[in-house]
Amino acid sequence: MSDMQRYHVLDRAPFNLASYLLRWESILVMLLVAVIVINTAISPYFLDIYNLSDATFNFSEKAIIALAMALLIITREIDLSVAANIAVCSLVMGLLSQMGFGTPILVFAGLAVGATAGAVNGALVTKFRLPSIVVTIGTMSLFRGIAQVVLGDQALTKYPSALTSFGQGYIWPGVPIPNSFAIFLILACIFAFVLHRTVIGRQIFAIGHNPTAARFSGIKVENTRFWLFVMTGLMAGLAAVLLTGRIGSTRPNIALGWELEIVTMVILGGISIAGGTGTILGLVLSVFILGLTIFGLSLVNIPGIEIAILIGLLLIISIAIPIMTAKWRGRT
């Protein structure tokens, strides 16, 4: 056409160091470095490969759920029932274990129950068009309620040793990488690849930016959301398998309050609660920042609740910094 060259359009915006440095991931990297430096300074026990590896036990299960939750949050949904879901998964595993089933069946059952519970959430949200925050507040009570009705004041503690040694174990004798942490790392790579390199990932972002336009673009919005709920449930099931194995016991209050910790991980990772933005790299960095902050501070025996204050501050300040800088840059 005659005016093919009417405007000159670059392929990419020219490189701009400042905006590169102000990317969320860069800020998180700086934060992570700061956390490591500070922790090393305040405790001689921090930079110890065995200690650090043990520390990962306490956040890997949550981080695994956070991966799926991140995708859900990108599509403007949320699942607050994940922790309660763990309770139901663990419950079913415990009951089956009492009946004498072996580890493979238990693992399968944990995953299946988790995915089913996720499907319940997904169906309620997508079929009835309900806001997920409310649905999952409801199913949170429902799921934990089920555990409570079945277990009452009892605990299930008879688990096959294969399961417990998996939950408490390391990938290889002598290699200080716990199974749960290794699973998290592998899953993080898979999630990052899917989200950032594949069609489905692009569609997930599109749904988060503008669900209506996504529908008009031929994306099966409700379908995708449904499967993301199932995926989140599945990850909760996986976390339940690992956690049950690790502590070898099931009570109705297992994993109590994890939902907010997981949401905190996701948000600090730069995944916007308004949908559409975020990276898995950011999430992984945030997992390390939170995990190492908590571990480092508890090494000097700062009470958990004071650490919680710090994390609250960290969350607010770290989100405020880029917003403030952007404002300030916009003004000049």
Partner: protein, 499 residues
């Protein structure tokens, strides 16, 4: 007329956004009792100027004089105080609130203790509605109104300020025939009351009908002004675009091929009834009707957005079940929606990601997306529609409305459809781009694409289409073709009169 002092003088106004110079040393002069048309291509800075005049943006430099006195607008209420009111390009409406609240939001009449004076609010609103001959009451909840009625509420709101300067940023973009005439009646009424009016539109027939003067912007800069009676459309277009555009509706001589789409008795409970038509390769079928005639609803049902209750759709002679847009895309149908903000664009995505989204599977071998393949497509369609941007990664919310529209069209062409449905494709885009779009539509038809063109702009429908289907209140009235096509007959049919 120009002997009197101008009511508003704006001079040396500049405004930049990060990376974009929206206005540079712009100027504008208004006189009482005159309509001034503000002209410019998409992204020329018209809406930005409006937002500066209404206190929404603060200019980086420049001066605003009203009655010779300098003004500083920091927030919308400041500009109301100086007698300026505006109907913005984006709808400024609250669906859940009543008409009266919509009119007076931000300046409700109040009684003791700052409580809202509901009775005064409603009586004032009723008065305003009566003045513009609206037929709904002031306590109607807005979302129950149709588009044209909503538009009247916006006009009532502008009037509620008793403003002497009224700005209308593309007020006719969502209106058709009769409603536009109603609007012009109101404008004339305001003129006679001594108001100065800024009228922004990309439709020249309207400009020549209503405006007294014109001011033109190009790339944010002032390029000239004058009286409407002294210029021709070609001169104005040249000023706006910087070159001349010869043909607005290029009618290609295309050999029309075999029937590709057959729609039989498509109906749903509330929106359209008994839609039957067929479409051949290379054919452009226009759909005309008043706003709210149900054209978009029909097209959306065809595209799988909503469910039709009854009827069949055949593509290439085979019945297809279209239950979702992805089914439609698979069947080779593409739909450029009418509401680009809500239905068409992903604002935080860049141009590339927007354009390739519906056809993303073509760029992904085994699900993994290839960036270079995406970029090639983006360049091809972006350049062909002359999208103006700094880079292909620029976010959509940084583009002007018209350029966003081009991206939306590009993204559907990239799906390589067999049947292309265009719903108000040139709504809000400037004359130059419009010509490019029309040219392109013609070319596509030449390549054998079957096209449905839904438009509320009569010249466009008549100029582009081989035949025209008219709808009224959800029903098919008549399909005009060849010599039957005349503006009078079509408008008559669209208002339900041709039975």
């Amino acid at each position: 007329m120009n002997s009197q002092l101008p009511i508003l003088v704006l001079s040396g106004v500049s405004k930049s956004f990060p990376g974009v110079r929206a206005l540079h040393d712009a100027k504008l002069t208004l006189h009482s009792g005159e309509v001034t048309a503000l002209l410019g291509e998409n992204g020329a800075g018209k809406s930005t100027l409006v937002k500066i005049l209404t206190g929404i943006y603060r200019p980086d430099a420049g001066e605003i004089l009203i009655d010779g006195k300098p003004q500083h607008f920091n927030k919308p209420t400041d500009s109301w105080g100086s007698g300026i009111a505006a109907i913005h390009q984006e709808t400024v409406m609250f669906d859940e609130l009543s008409v009266a609240e919509n009119i007076f939001m931000g300046h409700m009449p109040r009684k003791k203790f700052g409580l809202v004076d509901w009775s005064l609010l409603h009586s004032k609103s009723a008065e305003l509605l009566k003045r513009i001959e609206a037929e709904f009451s002031s306590d109607t909840i807005l979302k129950t109104l149709g588009v044209a009625q909503k538009h009247m509420v916006e006009i009532a709101r502008a009037l509620s300020h008793n403003a002497r300067i009224i700005i209308m940023d593309e007020p006719t973009a969502a209106l058709s025939g009769r409603e536009i005439d109603d609007l012009f009646d109101i404008i004339n009424q305001l003129k006679s009351q001594g108001c100065a009016i800024i009228f922004i539109s990309h439709k020249f027939d309207e400009i020549f009908k209503i405006a007294d003067r014109w001011t033109c912007l190009r790339d944010g800069e002032y390029v000239g002004e004058g009286a409407i009676k002294d210029v021709t459309q070609a001169q104005l277009v040249k000023l706006m675009v910087g070159r001349s555009i010869d043909q607005v509706f290029p009618k290609h001589n295309v050999s029309i091929g075999k029937t590709i789409l057959e729609v039989d008795d498509l109906s749903n409970a509330t929106e359209f009834d008994g839609a039957s038509f067929d479409l051949r390769q290379g054919e452009i079928l226009g759909f005309y009707g008043l706003v709210g005639a149900g054209r978009s609803e029909l097209m959306q049902a065809l595209f799988g957005i909503s469910k039709a209750g009854r009827g069949t759709v055949k593509v290439n002679g085979n019945i297809v079940k279209i239950e979702s847009p992805s089914d439609a895309i698979t069947a080779g149908i593409a739909y450029v929606p009418e509401d680009r903000q809500v239905q068409g664009t992903f604002q935080p995505f860049g141009i590339r990601e927007n354009i390739t989204l519906p056809s993303i599977a073509h760029h992904a071998g085994r699900n993994v997306i290839s960036y270079s393949s995406e970029l090639a497509t983006t360049r091809k369609f972006g350049a062909r529609l002359s999208v103006k941007a700094s880079s292909w990664e620029q976010r959509l919310n940084e583009l002007s409305g018209g350029n966003q529209q081009k991206v939306v069209i590009a993204k559907w062409l990239a799906t390589k459809p067999k049947i292309l449905i265009l719903d108000e494709p040139t709504k809000g885009i400037d004359i130059g781009s419009k010509a490019a779009v029309h040219e392109f539509i013609g070319e596509l038809a030449g390549e054998g694409l079957a096209i449905i063109l839904v438009s509320s702009e009569l010249p466009e429908v008549i100029g582009m289409s081989d035949s025209i289907q008219v709808m009224h209140e959800g029903k098919f009235i008549k399909r005009f073709s060849g010599a039957e096509i005349s503006p009078e007959a079509i408008v008559n049919a669209a208002s339900g009169g041709a039975h």
